[in-house]
């Protein structure tokens, strides 16, 4: 039962993705690019920076980067919490209190 539901879901999603890929506009001809053209023309004058991707990353869309750095920080906190160490004497104390 579970397996048949999984197969049906897989086929439906595959059909939708394939249909979307066929209906996409041609590769290499994006539709709306006013914002990106503004970035390309404005970056050098305003930030004195040659790498436009860095300028978008750290200035125009800096809040995205802030969220990303926070996600990395919290992921490292999660890894350190999951894989933490418990010292032997602490563990004996915990067993004694139980």
């Amino acid at each position: 039962m579970r397996k048949s539901i999984a197969i049906v879901a897989f086929l439906v999603i595959f059909a939708f993705l394939a249909g979307a890929a066929v209906e996409m506009r041609p590769f290499g001809e994006p539709d709306q690019s006013a914002m990106d053209d503004h970035f390309l023309g404005d970056t050098q004058e305003r930030h004195q920076v040659n790498n436009v991707v860095t300028a978008v990353l750290f200035d125009y869309r800096g809040l995205d980067t802030l969220g990303e750095a926070t996600i990395l920080f919290s992921a490292v906190s999660g890894v350190l919490t999951v894989l933490r160490e418990i010292k032997k004497d602490e563990k004996e104390e915990e067993v004694a209190t139980k």
Binding site: Q44, E45, R46, H47, Q48, V49, N50, N51, V53, T54, A55, L57, F58, D59, G62, L63, T65, L66, A69, T70, L72, F73, A75, V76, V79, L80, L83, R84, E85, I86, K87, K88, K91, E94, V95
Partner: protein, 164 residues
């Protein structure tokens, strides 16, 4: 000795770690001129940690230092962003003012670029590089420790505690 690899691997590691770290620093400080930046350079620096861990099987007791570096990088990043709050967050208040990081490009359009331009973008590259290198080093260190690739200390994991 069980966790160390052979003398050949250790010697090559000793030779290669310094160029890897220098290449990472190059990627970080040229992040506003060439392909690269804080994230990529930080990942390259963290790969030297992976090399050390695999070759030697130990990394010393630098967990506190790495945690401090990571927190320092994130805090300085947020601080740099907040100083510009006079107009908007992440406002580039150093660019074009002259002095360190405040230089101007030789010309608009295609140009070779100078390294002391960019203002907060260059500084934020440095901060993010600090954070990412420390964070990925911590992840590699903890995971190789817990999966038995490094010599264990006198500790046990929480799950073993549950078993007993």
């Amino acid at each position: 000795m069980k966790y160390e690899m052979s003398r050949v691997v250790r010697t090559v590691t000793d030779i290669l770690v310094v160029p890897i770290i220098i290449f990472g620093i190059y990627l970080i400080i040229h992040g506003h001129l060439t392909p690269g930046g804080g994230f990529q350079g930080g990942a390259v620096i963290a790969s030297s940690t992976a090399l050390l861990v695999i070759a030697y099987g130990s990394f010393g007791k630098h967990k506190k230092d790495l945690s401090s570096l990571e927190s320092l990088g994130l805090t300085l990043f947020i601080l740099l962003a907040l100083i510009g709050m006079g107009s908007t967050m992440f406002y580039n208040y150093i660019s074009g003012t002259g002095g360190l990081f405040g230089g101007t490009l030789p010309s608009l359009g295609i140009n070779p670029g100078y390294i002391n331009t960019g203002g907060t973008i260059t500084l934020m590259n440095l901060m993010v590089g600090l954070e990412v290198s420390a964070a990925l080093s911590l992840i590699i260190w903890m995971m190789s420790k817990r999966s038995g690739m490094m010599e264990p200390e006198e500790t046990i994991s929480p799950s073993e505690e549950v078993e007993k």
